[in-house]
């Protein structure tokens, strides 16, 4: 357990030349100095966003593909997920805007904006998981997925 915690707490590094790394050129005296930079915070935010997006996508797809079944179980399932759908579209657009703005001008305030939107989409994932998870566990106790 301790080893796991130590491993989990190690700080990863981004390989130079990747999509989340860049370089900054500065004049030091009469010399041009190129310094490699990496944006691990954006990589982490994008990782979390991608996972949240894919999870919501799977929830929405499962409900739509099996709508008749879920509707018979309870119309509330679709109604709740419809509310999540409406909010999810807005939050994804908000993330797109915040991320684009941050990439254009990477400031701590911009990163906070990205992370704030990320928290909203994660909340939607929580609601979506709760709705489908509760229904599946209630109606088919033998399902483990």
């Amino acid at each position: 357990m301790v080893a796991l915690l130590i491993t989990a707490c190690k700080t990863p590094k981004l390989a130079p030349g990747g999509a989340y790394t860049g370089s900054v050129t500065n004049m030091v005296g009469t010399n041009l100095v190129i310094t490699a930079t990496s944006d691990l915070a954006l990589y982490s935010a994008d990782s979390s966003f991608a996972l949240a997006y894919k999870t919501l996508d799977a929830i929405f797809l499962t409900e739509r593909n099996n709508r008749d079944y879920f509707w018979k179980v309870s119309p509330q399932i679709k109604h709740t997920l419809d509310k999540v759908r409406a909010q999810a579209q807005k939050v994804v657009s908000d993330y797109a805007a915040a991320r684009t703005a941050y990439i254009a001008n990477p400031t701590p305030a911009g990163l906070t904006g990205v992370q704030s939107v990320l928290a909203q989409i994660q909340q939607l994932v929580f609601v979506g998981n709760a709705v489908l998870g509760q229904i599946i566990s209630t109606n088919a106790p033998s399902i483990t997925n």
Binding site: A50, L51, T62, R64, N65, K78
Partner: protein, 91 residues
Amino acid sequence: MPTALLTILPQILQGIQIAINAAPTVASLVNTAKAWFDALFEGGLVTVEQQAALHQYVDGVVALAKSGVIPPHWQVESDPATPAVTPAPSK
């Protein structure tokens, strides 16, 4: 077999079928997420390829959002038709 069980059995079987059908989607989701998070939690080096894959994926989602294209299963659709309630026969 109790009548209640016979009534709910088709629902249970349908639920199992849904879980089986959804399994490939879930497996794909887990594998993708694992690849992205492995590097973070192993404290290793996130390769150029891993960075490119994630960046391209999010860029795609961002482009989709900006274009206004909404996947069908993300859209709020009308409710399924509810079967008409047949009035109980008068006694």
